[in-house]
C-alpha cells in the first residue's frame, strides 16, 4: 500500500508547481486539561509557543504535564491506588525553502517508571498551484520501561513510525486529507504491573492472577481519510474514517462527523466519534490455566470494544485582527472550552471489582469526561 502511494506521489511531484509554501502562524496556546472517569483523574497544563525567525524558519516548543491519580479497575483489582506525574517537552523547527517544508522535532517524556525520547523528521511539498501537499515523515522512538517497586527492572522499547500524507483541495468548498502510517515496535510492550487471570478451582472466587506476557514485536498499519466541506451558508461539515490493523490481530474502524458553526465572535463545534475494534489474539478475559499460552494479556485496551464520544466545543474570539484593538504585539486572541463525553463498552472484559464468583461478573463499562480550556494568542 505504502509503496503504491509513494510511486503515485513521486509521479505527481514530477509535475509540481513552483509556488512558495507557507510557514505555520505564530501563536501561543495555554491549555488546561482534565480527564475524569473510571476511577482515574488526570489533569495538568500544556503550553505551546511557535515563532518565526526570519522568513524561512519557524521554531516551536511545547511543555505538557499529566498529574495522575489512579484507582482504575486494573489498579483496584490487582494493585493499590497511586499518584504520579508525567512531564513532556518538545522542541521543533520548520524550514521553508520554495514550496518545500522540512521539519525536525525532538520530544522527551519522563515519569517515575517510564522514559521516552522521540526524534521525528518530515518533508512536505506543495504542488499543483498549492492544491496538493504531500508529506513524508519518519520518527524514531527510544523508550525505557521500569518498575516503581523494583529498582533492578529496566527494559527498552524501540519504535519507528513511517508516514505518508496528502492534503488535497478538491473543489472551492472541499478539502481532504489522506494519511497512511506504519508503526513498528520492538521491546518490552506490556504493562509491567498488570496481570491476567486464570481458572483456579482452589481459589474462593474461582480464579487467580499471574503476570501478563506480551510478544516483543508489534507492527501496525493505519489509513485515515478526512473531508471538510464548506456548507452553502458559513458553516463546515467534516467526516473522518480510519482503518487500523496490526500483527496482534487488532482490527479497528474509527469514524467521526463534525459540524462547525460560527456565530458573531463565537465558533461552536459538535462532534460524534465512533470506534470499534477486535481483540488481540493473545487476549483472554480468563485463561483456562496458569501459563496456558506463550503470550497472554488481559489489558482492556487490547480487548474487543466499542467506544462512543460526543464532543461539544465553544470558542470566543475576544481580540480580532481588524486593526481597531491590539494588545501590544498580539493581533488576535481567543478562548476555547470543550467537553468530550466518552463511553466505552467492553465486550469481553469482566468487572472484577464487584467481587462476584467466576462466570457471574458483569462486563465492565467506562464512562469518562474530558474537559479542555485554553487560550490562543496569535501575533
Amino acid at each position: 500500500m505504502i509503496r503504491r502511494i509513494l510511486t503515485i506521489a513521486a509521479l505527481l511531484l514530477a509535475y509540481g508547481a513552483a509556488n512558495a509554501g507557507v510557514l505555520p502562524d505564530d501563536r501561543a496556546d495555554v491549555l488546561y486539561h482534565l480527564y475524569d472517569g473510571g476511577g482515574v483523574e488526570i489533569d495538568g497544563p500544556s503550553v505551546l509557543v511557535r515563532k518565526k525567525v526570519g522568513k524561512s524558519v519557524s521554531l516551536v516548543g511545547n511543555y505538557y504535564v499529566d498529574m495522575v491519580s489512579s484507582a482504575s479497575i486494573d489498579v483496584i483489582t490487582t494493585a493499590s491506588p497511586y499518584t504520579e506525574e508525567r512531564k513532556q517537552w518538545s522542541l521543533g523547527m520548520d524550514y521553508l525553502r520554495g514550496n518545500t517544508t522540512m521539519r525536525v522535532n525532538y520530544t522527551s517524556s519522563e515519569e517515575s517508571d517510564f522514559d521516552a525520547e522521540t526524534v521525528s523528521f518530515s518533508v512536505s511539498q506543495d504542488m499543483f498551484g498549492d492544491l496538493t501537499t504531500l508529506t513524508l515523515s519518519y520518527a524514531l522512538g527510544d523508550d525505557l520501561v521500569r518498575r516503581s517497586d523494583d529498582d533492578t527492572f529496566e527494559a527498552p522499547l524501540d519504535r519507528q513510525i513511517y508516514g505518508v500524507g496528502i492534503t488535497q483541495i478538491l473543489t472551492k468548498n472541499l478539502i481532504s486529507s489522506l494519511n497512511v502510517e506504519t508503526i513498528t515496535e520492538e521491546g518490552f510492550l506490556n504493562n509491567p504491573y498488570r496481570s491476567v487471570r486464570y481458572f483456579d478451582a482452589g481459589s474462593a472466587l474461582g480464579y487467580s492472577f499471574e503476570p501478563e506476557l506480551y510478544p516483543n514485536t508489534r507492527t501496525s498499519n493505519a489509513v485515515g481519510i478526512r473531508m471538510r466541506y464548506f456548507l452553502p451558508y458559513r458553516a463546515a461539515l467534516e467526516g473522518e474514517y480510519r482503518f487500523f490493523t496490526d500483527t496482534w490481530d487488532i482490527d479497528g474502524h474509527t469514524a467521526s462527523l463534525s459540524y462547525i458553526h460560527p456565530w458573531k465572535d463565537f465558533t461552536f463545534t459538535g462532534k460524534f466519534r465512533y470506534h470499534d475494534q477486535t481483540g488481540a489474539h493473545f487476549y483472554r478475559d480468563v485463561f483456562p490455566r496458569a501459563q496456558a499460552t506463550n503470550f497472554r494479556g488481559r489489558d482492556k485496551e487490547i480487548s474487543p470494544l466499542t467506544s462512543y464520544t460526543f464532543k461539544l466545543q465553544a470558542a470566543y474570539e475576544f481580540l480580532r485582527d481588524d486593526g481597531n484593538d491590539t494588545w501590544g504585539f498580539i493581533k488576535r486572541a481567543k478562548v476555547t472550552a470543550s467537553v468530550n463525553i466518552l463511553n466505552v463498552e467492553y465486550h469481553d472484559f469482566s468487572d472484577l471489582s464487584v467481587g462476584e464468583v467466576l462466570g457471574s461478573e458483569p462486563l465492565y463499562q467506562l464512562d469518562a469526561n474530558v474537559i479542555q480550556v485554553y487560550f490562543s494568542f496569535f501575533y
Binding site: 509556488n19 507557507v22 500544556s46 500524507g165 478526512r226 487500523f244
Partner: protein, 80 residues
C-alpha cells in the same frame, strides 16, 4: 533489520525522484487562488487547534488499541 532497510528504501527512492524531477513544468490548478476564500476561512482549517488535537489523540491512544493515521498532512492548504 532487512525489513527496516526495505522500508527506508521505499521512502528514500521517492525523495531521490523528487530531487531529480523538481523544476519540471506544472499543471494548471483547477481551483484558482482567488477562488479559495472559503477554504481560507478559519472554520476550514484541518487542524486549527494543534495542542488540543494532540491531547485528545493521546487520550484515545491510551484507551484503545488503534493508533496513527489521523494526523493532518501538514504544510497548510495554500489558502493563506
Amino acid at each position: 533489520m532487512d525489513k527496516r532497510i526495505f522500508l527506508v528504501g521505499r521512502f528514500l527512492l521517492p525523495l531521490l525522484v523528487i530531487g531529480a524531477l523538481s523544476g519540471c513544468g506544472g499543471i494548471e490548478p483547477w481551483v484558482k487562488p482567488y477562488e479559495r476564500d472559503k477554504l481560507a476561512d478559519p472554520i476550514m482549517a484541518l487542524d486549527g487547534d494543534p495542542v488540543s488535537t494532540a491531547y485528545i489523540q493521546h487520550v484515545f491512544e491510551a484507551r484503545e488499541g488503534a493508533r496513527g493515521g489521523e494526523g493532518a498532512a501538514g504544510g497548510g492548504c495554500g489558502c493563506n
